[in-house]
Amino acid sequence: MLAAFFFQPYTAPYLGLVLNWAIIVSSVALLVAIASLVVIHIRFIVKGRKGFLYSIVLVVAFLVTLGLGWYSGLDDPAYLAGIRAILVPLENALMALVALVLMSAAVKIFRVRGWSILTVSFGLSALVFLFLNLGFLRFEGNPGMSQVVSMIQRLPIVGARGLLIGVALGALLMALRVLFGQEVERE
């Protein structure tokens, strides 16, 4: 696969075929994972385990979604509208909840980790960017200040670049370890 990626003009048909197989295998693996999830919850219901009410909700939601979709077809507008009416408000409400949870988490970080370089720079940066994002500060008539503000706005790129390179190096190392079987030995 690695060779196929690097010599792409010559190996494109082979690469396409292998990637198609990978899509099929990962899809079937996902189906197996979902089947196992549903089977586990059916087992919880049968055994009457604590919290089995949630399992009933999950299994009913799963069967109703699957059954209706199978019956009406995946592209049926009424079915899609129904799915959207259930999933979109739930996801939006969760996203809205994130704002409130993040606020409490930001306060908690100072309580848990104390005052350190990291927490202070985090707090200051959050305040500054919150203020800048509000859009109240406009320096159209002052090119010097607008240059300073734009430089401040580019500061997170430095950290993000460092983090990205670090993550990429880590992922690359891990992939090479897996490829050479060293990760399995360590386990």
Partner: protein, 224 residues
């Protein structure tokens, strides 16, 4: 608006109110909303996978045998069938064949993706910052460009060092020279700034969603 639309709107409203019951603690209503989300998403995912992947890529080609290669289609079918053995035994060796294949493909894609998509562009952008054309304007030194380029290089090195130093310090528990601690602190400042900016981005998105939700509630009340 017909009755079905109204019913769906009401269902969405009730479910989202159930999500907000989390503010009162991890309640039964929040659990029901979450399990509904998981169940509905799982059902929809199964449907999409079967109708958009399995049917067109595995089943349909089998019906056009004379036109396609028999061995190729059988190999595809075999690749699709092997993971099913995991249902009966999680550590099935037969299922392991196709999962091993998948692991190989994912690893190769990861190596290529990370090196070509992340590592090289990020490193090149640091090098590009030192482009002489950016460091001068009309023959004179562009001090802000020079400052930014050096800041970028120093920041990236310090961030990388902050992680490395933290790890080795945890491992060895040794007293490091103070300049190393200083460099780590410099890296931590950039990490803090980046996390702060990411936090604000996420917070703003959440806030927009909250405002949209309140608007949704107001619209629903107006509808009555």
């Amino acid at each position: 608006m017909n009755n079905l639309d109204l019913l769906l709107l009401l269902a969405g409203l009730v479910l989202s109110l159930m999500v907000f019951s989390y503010l009162l603690g991890d309640t039964l209503l929040f659990g029901i909303a979450m399990y509904t989300l998981v169940g509905a998403t799982a059902g929809f995912t199964v449907l999409v996978l079967v109708q958009k992947v399995i049917m067109p890529m595995v089943i349909t080609p089998l019906t056009t045998f004379p036109k396609s290669s028999v061995w190729l289609e059988l190999a595809t079918l075999l690749a699709a069938l092997l993971p099913i053995f995991m249902i009966f035994k999680k550590s099935s060796r037969v299922a392991g064949i196709s999962l091993g294949f998948l692991g190989g493909v994912v690893t190769a894609a990861l190596i290529v993706g990370v090196s070509r998509g992340t590592l090289v562009p990020q490193l090149l952008s640091i090098v590009d910052a030192f482009d002489p054309s950016r460091m001068t304007t009309a023959g004179l030194p562009n001090w802000s460009g020079i400052f930014e380029a050096f800041m970028m290089l120093a920041g990236v090195l310090a961030v990388l060092f902050a992680f490395h130093h933290r790890k080795t310090k945890q491992k060895q528990d040794s007293l490091a020279p103070s300049w190393l601690d200083g460099l780590t602190g410099f890296g931590q400042i950039f990490i803090g700034i980046t996390f702060g900016a990411i936090f604000v981005g996420l917070f703003s998105t959440g806030l927009v969603a909250l405002i949209a939700y309140v608007q949704y509630l107001v619209d629903f009340v107006r509808l009555w």
